[in-house]
């Protein structure tokens, strides 16, 4: 299976366990994804995909699925 780049960024930045239910992963629903980690996550995603997210994107990135949608809005297939 091809490695999912966005999942890798999430896993490494947040330090997630090996098994993750990606469809359920949401901001503040797991202890690893708090507000401090959120800003770091945004930075890592920007770096990995070469984009700059808006404040609205930062605030709207409430789940893993939302992060994917935001990246596709920026023209990045993640």
């Amino acid at each position: 299976m091809a490695v999912d780049k966005l999942q890798t960024v999430f896993s490494e930045t947040l330090g997630l366990p090996a098994e993750v239910d990606w469809s359920a992963l949401a901001y503040r629903k797991v202890p690893e994804w708090d507000s401090v980690a959120h800003m770091q996550l945004v930075g890592e995603i920007e770096e990995a995909f070469g984009v700059m997210l808006d404040t609205a994107d930062v605030l709207g990135m409430s789940s893993f699925a939302a992060a994917r949608d935001i990246l596709s809005k920026h023209g990045v297939a993640a």
Partner: protein, 251 residues
């Protein structure tokens, strides 16, 4: 002095086609920085200034039209900066307007206008700049406040509020961004000879000068020197400070 060199660093100075902003752009470029010159709406004026910097100091320079009163334009500006330079190391929040009104004669419009440019603008710029800076391990932000923001003055309740807010922004942002290597300081000029103060009625101007310990108004270059210091490595351990540049002014 090596601690003043800024080679390879990218700096945005808001409102930098004239006055303190222009002198700051020149000082930063003279020390090697790539300066992004900003005008509210006149892209051509900003381009001409950028060309002057390249010509005089043999450094790259860029130009950007962006209204500090418009958050959407600010967001767009940072997308452009990211697209062109991929980084930002220095932000000088200089753009500002001065409009006086006595209490009882302050219109809603005036409050909106002054706070939008002098307070909301710096906040939006700081937020966007910090996001770019933390990617590269840090940066320096210098905000222009005023002796009116720290000490107050008759007729300047609105301007004074707007500039006092910049002090609050500076101190809070300094605490929050220190772990990311981003320093945030402010410069508080007294009476400086620029277009902004040339509109003050002569009698009032004389009274203000009489209150200056050194007996003379300041030059925009003198303010720019303080910004240069705070923006560079000589100030590497300084954050959350408000540096007065006022010749010993009492107000």
């Amino acid at each position: 002095m090596t601690g003043l060199r800024l080679d390879g660093r990218v700096a945005l100075v808001t409102g930098s086609t004239r006055g303190i902003g222009w002198c700051t752009a020149r000082a930063l470029a003279a020390h090697g920085a790539t300066v992004i010159v900003n005008s509210r709406a006149d892209a051509e004026a900003a381009k001409a200034r950028a060309a002057e910097l390249t010509e005089a100091h043999c450094v790259p320079a860029d130009a950007l039209a962006c209204d500090a009163a418009d958050p959407e334009q600010i967001r767009e500006a940072y997308r452009r900066i990211f697209g062109t330079h991929r980084r930002l190391d220095i932000l000088v929040n200089n753009a500002g307007i001065l409009e006086d009104a006595l209490i009882g004669m302050i219109s809603d419009d005036l409050v909106e206008r002054v706070l939008r440019v002098n307070t909301f603008g710096p906040l939006h710029h700081l937020q966007a700049a910090a996001r770019l800076m933390r990617r590269h391990g840090g940066g320096a932000i210098v905000n222009l406040t005023s002796i009116i923001g720290t000490h107050g003055n008759v007729g300047q309740a609105v301007y004074g509020s707007a500039k006092a807010a910049v002090v609050g922004l500076t101190r809070s942002a300094a605490k929050e961004l220190a772990p990311h290597g981003i320093r945030v300081n402010a410069v508080a000029p007294g009476l400086i000879d620029t277009d902004m103060t040339r509109g003050i009625p002569p009698e009032r101007y004389r009274e203000l000068v009489d209150g200056i310990g050194m007996g003379r108004v300041g030059t925009p270059e003198q303010v720019a020197n303080a910004v240069l210091f705070l923006a560079g490595d000589l100030a590497a351990y300084i954050t959350g400070q408000v540096l007065g540049v006022d010749g010993g002014m009492r107000i």
